[in-house]
Symmetry: C2
Subunit: 240 residues, 2 copies
DNA sequence: CAGTGGTCTAGACCACCCT
DNA sequence: GGGTGGTCTAGACCACTGG
């Protein structure tokens, strides 16, 4: 039944049909949708094709299939949000992001760093500090800490511009597996205020990232202090 | 080939095999994985079964399929984070979240509200203000604004405890479609400080949510001020 | 037990990409 | 043209749920 007209796939039509029934309220959250064999008859397609459409809706969060029972309409969860955090979205209106490498070097892990990166105190740690500037001026200062890996030189440009997860991956030759991301409220301390050309005490967002390898070993820690008047974080529920 | 042993599905085994090859570095980002027909031969399964496995890996972000070219290993994007925001994760260690309804009523939309909710100034708006308390004490104050819908009474308990998106859905009889979520840095003003039993000027997180219906009409606005010393937001990259 | 979704087959034709 | 992934079929058996 792929015949003649309709350039759009059958499974897609079916999915859109059901989606429309859900959005219009004809099918309400908790309702069962027709069984796969019923849909196959209705739409004159094979069951595997129905399954493809149903799987699409499930992936998009509109329905949930339960073996032996049926497929049920769900409310897309609006408390599950997707947050894209790249340095580019530190920019507000401004189009250009500049990065200034303030400091880079190898240090010995102090107590705090050794805790964060789960290494012994004294371990050699690659540290770098950067200043991020938009058109309006400084937006954030960022400190990054990676266990020092010998024989893996990082280029200055990488240190300046690479996104933190990418930098970590480059440094360790490992596929990083997880990014633990934390946002907290803070105010500018003296040193930060000077770098960010703002007053001490200005509200600030503190964004902390810890990258883990697949073996759950932390392989990178980053802490970014952002001027609250020049930066907000945004997220949106399901990005279909 | 579903025979005898192996309680785990063939497509799942195949997916795990490939995943392991990716995580071990045998397959690196950018590499092509074997074609579907090759995999079908290798694993002695039908091509549809291979496709199911490949689709699973694609859904999980490990590979990307491109028609006419092949399927390629991708780096799971670590700058795409999933943030679960329910009032329960306002709790730190504490187990009990209490909510106190401070104020509720119908008001006329002022300039700010009419802008946020895209309604004419003066439109009747249901407003409520709540205080959220954990074991340690107050954590956040939350103001919620919904266009007033007559004939849809909300119970006090709903107003107290319903998550904001759910509350909006209940109020409008609409399936809400999108949640625009914004986090910014702030400090406690006098009124907030009093309610939160903290000093004026304490760092705070401001969480703003605007819920949209499927027709892109805003149908709810919420603004929550959280004590920075008692609340942080966390997110994590792909939640498989 | 009947009905549901989950897995699987062995084919087929298509759209697309590259050479 | 030859290879790739995308769509689709018409069956089959399985695992699970419920009455």
């Amino acid at each position: 039944m792929k015949s003649v007209s309709s350039f759009i796939p059958a499974y897609y039509r079916l999915a859109e049909d059901l989606k429309q029934k859900i959005e219009s309220g004809e099918l309400k959250p908790g309702d069962v949708i027709p069984s796969e064999s019923q849909l196959a008859k209705q739409y004159q397609v094979s069951r595997m094709t129905v399954r493809q459409g149903v799987a699409l809706l499930a992936k998009e969060g509109f329905i949930e299939s339960i073996q032996g029972k049926g497929s049920f309409v769900t409310v897309p969860r609006m408390d599950t949000l997707v947050l894209r955090f790249s340095e580019n979205n530190l920019l507000g209106e401004s189009k250009t992001l500049q990065v200034k490498l303030l400091d880079v070097g190898v240090i010995a892990a102090d107590r705090k760093i050794s805790a964060k990166l789960a290494v012994s105190p004294g371990t050699r740690i690659l540290k770098m500090k950067r200043l991020l500037l938009a058109d309006e001026g400084p937006v954030a200062v960022d400190s990054r800490f990676l266990p020092y890996v010998k024989g893996v030189p990082l280029l200055e440009r990488e240190m300046e511009y690479a996104a933190f997860p990418d930098l970590v991956a480059r440094n360790t030759n490992l596929v990083s597996a997880r990014n633990n991301f934390k946002v907290s409220a803070s105010i500018l301390l003296k040193e930060e205020a000077e770098l960010l050309e703002a007053k001490v005490g200005l509200p600030a967002l503190c964004v902390e990232q810890i990258i883990y390898a697949s073996n759950d070993q932390p392989i990178g820690w980053s802490k970014m202090i952002c001027r609250g008047d020049r930066f907000t974080l945004t997220a949106v529920s399901h990005p279909f």
